[in-house]
């Protein structure tokens, strides 16, 4: 039993490294993902996760850090969405959709021009937890600390914006400033996580654990905590399964987070039905009075 569940992480140093990286990604995604889910930013998060592709590809062609390229890609897509929606009066989701396909297409064109990059495309899109280096961990720790710092400092405006933008604005918080800060936080999460789970799959880690947690949490902090646990558990189980059955590690982790969401959704639905039934019953004291 122990051999199956624990031994691989003791014996295999790379697997241990992958688990540490995945834990860091899970916590970072839980903090950022909480606000993604509450503020309904999944689509912009998705666009960001795809929009970094040309940046990463260009950086790799120029032999500079892919993280720098990803940061430039994220900045271009955020700026582009803002510019298109403001100047050309199209809705935000249309602007996001346009920038999303434009950046993804550009990324594919850039990678198709180089045979080496074509081989790396899989790695960029789907990540490779089992190819994580210790230097990647340093970046992830820095990103986690920054995301937590932003989340802590801006917790009040982020919370109010989750209820109503007007509430934040009339309390003296600039909605555009804090919305952009939130996007920067999501961008940072995507950039720091793509090495481990890839640009396509990072959305799963951002959305699925937080969407599961929101059903049961009663506070924002507990939502982050539950989302972190789900992400960490999925990382452990995903790496274990991929180790034993030779599955793609990152995809397995993300698929597990979505399966956990499905289980939570069914459980939540059952809980609601049971509560409804209890509400429909006559109250005990009324029952006693009747006798």
């Amino acid at each position: 039993m122990l051999d199956f569940f624990v031994r691989p992480f003791i014996d295999d140093q790379q697997l241990r490294l992958a688990f540490i990286a995945s834990v860091l990604v899970a916590i970072t995604c839980a903090v950022a993902g909480t606000f993604v889910v509450l503020r309904g930013l999944a689509f912009i998060g998705d666009a960001l996760s795809h929009g970094v592709l040309p940046g990463i590809a260009t950086a790799m062609l120029l032999s500079i850090s892919p993280i720098v390229g990803a940061a430039v890609g994220a900045a271009v897509i955020m700026g582009g969405v803002g510019l298109v929606s403001r100047r050309y009066k199209v809705s935000a989701d249309t602007a996001i959709g346009l920038m999303f396909v434009a950046m993804l297409s550009l990324g594919v064109i850039i990678t198709s021009r180089s045979t080496n990059l074509e081989e790396d495309l899989d790695h960029i899109l789907f990540g490779d937890s089992l190819a994580v280096h210790s230097t990647d961990l340093v970046w992830q720790i820095i990103a986690l600390l920054l995301v937590c710092l932003i989340g802590f400092i801006a917790r009040r405006p982020f919370l109010m914006m989750s209820v109503d933008d007007g509430l934040a604005q009339t309390s003296g918080f600039s909605v555009s400033l804090f919305h952009n800060l939130l996007l920067a936080m999501i961008g940072l999460t995507v950039i720091s996580s793509f090495q481990t789970v890839g640009t396509l799959l990072v959305m799963g880690m951002l959305v699925a654990p937080a969407a599961s947690a929101v059903m049961f949490a009663r506070r924002i902090s507990s939502m982050m905590l539950i989302a972190s646990f789900i992400g960490i558990f999925a990382s452990y189980l995903g790496l274990l399964i991929s180790h034993h059955f030779n599955f793609a590690a990152s995809a397995t982790i993300v698929l597990i987070t979505v399966l956990i969401f499905a289980i939570c959704a069914v459980r939540f639905d059952l809980m609601k039905r049971r509560n409804l039934k209890i509400d429909e019953l006559p109250h005990q004291h009324e029952h006693n009075h009747a006798h």
Partner: protein
């Protein structure tokens, strides 16, 4: 002469190039109640958002507590119409009410005993204390509205801008809102309220009837004359 708490001089409101209501003129003193009445899209919420500083007036001069709207955020409380995330937000009522203190606390100040006391007082006043620890999303729309009302009361504002505060409330809830407004006015708070309901105007100092223009303005008995109501809604009050 004391400064008018809310002043609008020839103010036009709207979005971009689209004017919703033009040439609004009115002013209020401390403790006054101004009720904005009209159908959907008549400009009530746009006027409240303009006074709250969320939308710039297209033209004219608007002042709230002697300053441009949106400047004195600590002294102006705004209750939005149907806050959007009440059905998903993982927060208990007390936490929602605590948000009312954020304007004073800013980003970094820690909550004090006084802040916590104000939250408890607002919970008691609105009758939300009995479900203060329940998640907001598990409550009825009327109970959620009480929580949002409690939140705006914790602001300790000098001007309250309330967008349909009685929406979703039953008769008891409506009476509670009327009592709350009366008690706030008694301590000198100016209340500007948007509503669909004519009976909400009973105790108003000023009623403004809107239909993408100012149909009438003045004391309730003047502004709610049959000819104005017919023009605004197509019917008159039963006598």
């Amino acid at each position: 002469m004391p400064t008018k708490t809310v002043l609008a001089e020839n103010v036009s409101i709207g979005f971009g190039r689209h004017t919703v209501v033009a040439e609004i003129d009115f002013s209020t003193d401390s403790g006054a109640l101004v009720v904005l009445i009209g159908t959907n899209g008549s400009g009530k919420s746009t006027l409240l958002k303009t006074l709250a500083g969320m939308i710039k007036p297209l033209s004219g001069n608007a002042l709230v507590l002697g300053a441009k709207p949106g400047t004195r955020v600590k002294n102006v409380g705004y209750l939005p119409q149907h806050p959007i995330s009440s059905h998903t937000l993982p927060l208990c009522v007390r936490d929602v009410v605590r948000m009312g203190r954020f304007a004073d606390l800013g980003l970094f100040n820690r909550e004090t005993t006084k802040d916590r006391e104000l939250v408890e007082i607002a919970l008691e006043k609105t009758g939300a204390a009995e479900f203060a620890n329940k998640p907001l999303r598990d409550l009825s729309s009327g109970q959620q509205q009480r929580a949002h009302l409690a939140q705006v009361l914790t602001r300790q504002a000098e001007v309250l801008l309330l967008d349909e505060p009685t929406a979703g409330l039953d008769i008891n809830g409506r009476k509670l809102v009327a009592d709350l407004i009366a008690s706030e006015r008694a301590r000198g708070v100016t209340v500007v309220m948007a509503t669909h309901e004519l009976q909400d105007a009973e105790n108003a100092n000023t009623v403004m009837l809107l239909a993408q223009r100012v149909v009438s303005i003045g004391a309730p008995e003047v502004a709610l004359r049959d000819e104005y109501l017919r023009e605004c809604f197509g019917f008159t009050q039963p006598h």
